[in-house]
């Protein structure tokens, strides 16, 4: 229910970080969703997604075992599709095309509220429902620092370990890995493929 909602970071670092979901609903449009979801996959890949994956298939772009063909084939179960964009214009273009084709599948975009609502206005969409993040409560002294949380919170199931992020930082610092290689290492355990690899590499580059 929460998944990509609780991505941490400043407003500046959350710019150009969008997660898109396409979901069918059982008993409503799931039974006729296969072709429509396949079309969404085509559009999503054509517009240059940054990462994508499937926890059910244990595959992602970051892990190197998920691509357009794999995602298309996976739509036989008519459940849905998830991907990540690192650019506002790409995200907007996807929404424009989805509005134009009117496929009837629920689309959710996770990102900065102002940006997502602006995009909706520009494209001519009327958003229906919003899921707000009210932050973290409880024993917050158990949390790692914000520099680590910014990476780990990009995984919707908390599968990216704090120490893996620290290792990636160290590997980039020592030159053992490029920021892109280290970002891929961080993104690989995220089974849904929603770690924004561009954002992660940029953060690792900054040190």
């Amino acid at each position: 229910m929460t998944h990509s909602l609780h991505r941490q970071g400043t407003v500046e670092s959350l710019k150009n970080d969008y997660v898109m979901y396409a979901r069918s609903a059982k008993g409503i449009n799931m039974e006729t969703a296969r072709e429509k979801l396949m079309r969404i996959v085509e559009i999503a890949f054509e517009e240059g997604l940054n990462n994508s994956g499937s926890s059910y298939h244990r595959a992602s772009v970051a892990a190197g075992n998920w691509d357009k063909e794999a995602a298309m084939a996976a739509q036989k179960d008519t459940y849905g599709f998830i991907c990540c964009y690192d650019d506002r214009e790409k995200m907007k273009r996807v929404l424009e095309r989805l509005k134009e084709e009117d496929l009837g599948i629920s689309i959710v975009v996770s990102g900065l509220i102002d940006q997502v609502m602006d995009m909706a206005r520009e494209v001519g969409l009327q958003p229906h429902t919003i899921n707000l993040s009210l932050g973290i409560r409880g024993k917050k002294e158990l949390l790692p620092g914000p520099e680590v949380l910014e990476f780990t919170s990009m995984c919707g199931h908390a599968l990216v370990a704090n120490n893996l992020v620290r290792k990636a930082m160290e590997d980039v610092k020592t030159g053992a890995k490029t920021p892109e290689e280290a970002a891929r290492m961080v993104g690989t355990p995220c089974l849904c493929g929603i770690v924004n690899l561009t954002r992660a590499a940029e953060k690792l580059q900054q040190g």
């Binding site: 929460t2 909602l5 409503i28 629920s106 707000l132 409880g138 949390l143």
Partner: protein, 242 residues
């Protein structure tokens, strides 16, 4: 999960991959803390073990420990908890444009215990389920946590699952938006008693002009709303306008 000590070379390459830091080295032996492990399977799938020493324990698939795997590994369906099959929660806002599950004037709320990256015993959730039950909250029927309550009317958790540790578990409730101040009070007053953290979310229908109906109330209550959110774009059909 466990490490086959006959194979392990104690290279320690697996240690950084554990999301709950249950893998540790002591006296030249690398081991997985059985009680701390949440059975997410990340080490088995992605830690670069050169000798394939990481393996699933026989207990992983046995009740009640199987709960750890079902809540922590998103690739494993919620079979034993009779949840909807996939994920730690329900589809909530993602398909609300066609299901109309949460209508105007209603609020859905999710408390993801253990997240981010802290993990939780199910007994920690019980502190909140009991507090919410006291004010008569409706727990989402299809959520796997609800299945683990021995009595939804009191919020009491089944005794045999209370000590199970999971990467995260989502408590889902729904109520009339007018009750938001009361719910916020219950949640804020219970949070300090927890030995874990939770990430808190609220979902609601948007007004026709795109404004968020509960925003003013949340501001008055001093609840900070983060700048990022998940927005259902209203592209599902047939569209529910309730």
């Amino acid at each position: 999960m466990r490490i086959d000590q006959q194979l392990c070379t104690a290279c320690e390459e697996c240690i950084p991959y554990c999301p709950v830091e249950a893998i540790g080295a002591r006296n030249g032996i690398v081991e997985i803390d059985f009680d701390g492990c949440v059975e997410c399977g990340t080490c088995l799938r992605y830690a670069p073990c050169p000798v394939d020493a990481i393996e699933e324990s026989p207990e992983t698939a046995v009740w009640p420990r199987v709960i750890r795997r079902e809540f922590s590994d998103p690739g494993v369906p919620h079979t034993s908890t009779k949840g909807h099959g996939r994920g730690r929660g329900t589809e909530e806002s993602k398909t609300n444009d066609v299901t109309g599950r949460v209508k105007r004037g209603r609020v859905g709320m999710g408390l993801e215990f253990g997240r981010p990256g802290v993990a939780t015993r199910l007994s920690e959730l019980e502190k909140m389920t009991m507090a919410l039950a006291r004010v008569g909250v409706h727990f989402e029927r299809d959520n796997p946590v609800t299945f683990l309550l021995s009595d939804p009317a009191t919020g009491k958790m089944r005794d045999d699952v209370r000590n199970e540790r999971v990467l995260s578990a989502i408590l889902e409730v729904e109520f009339d938006a007018k009750r938001l101040p009361e719910m916020v009070e219950v949640i804020e007053s219970t949070a300090p008693s927890l030995d874990t953290v939770f990430s808190w979310c609220l979902f609601t229908r948007l007004n026709d002009d795109g404004s968020i109906p509960v925003l003013k109330t949340l501001q008055e209550l001093g609840v900070e709303v983060r700048p990022n959110a998940k927005v259902n774009m209203g592209l599902g059909r047939p569209l529910v306008m309730d």
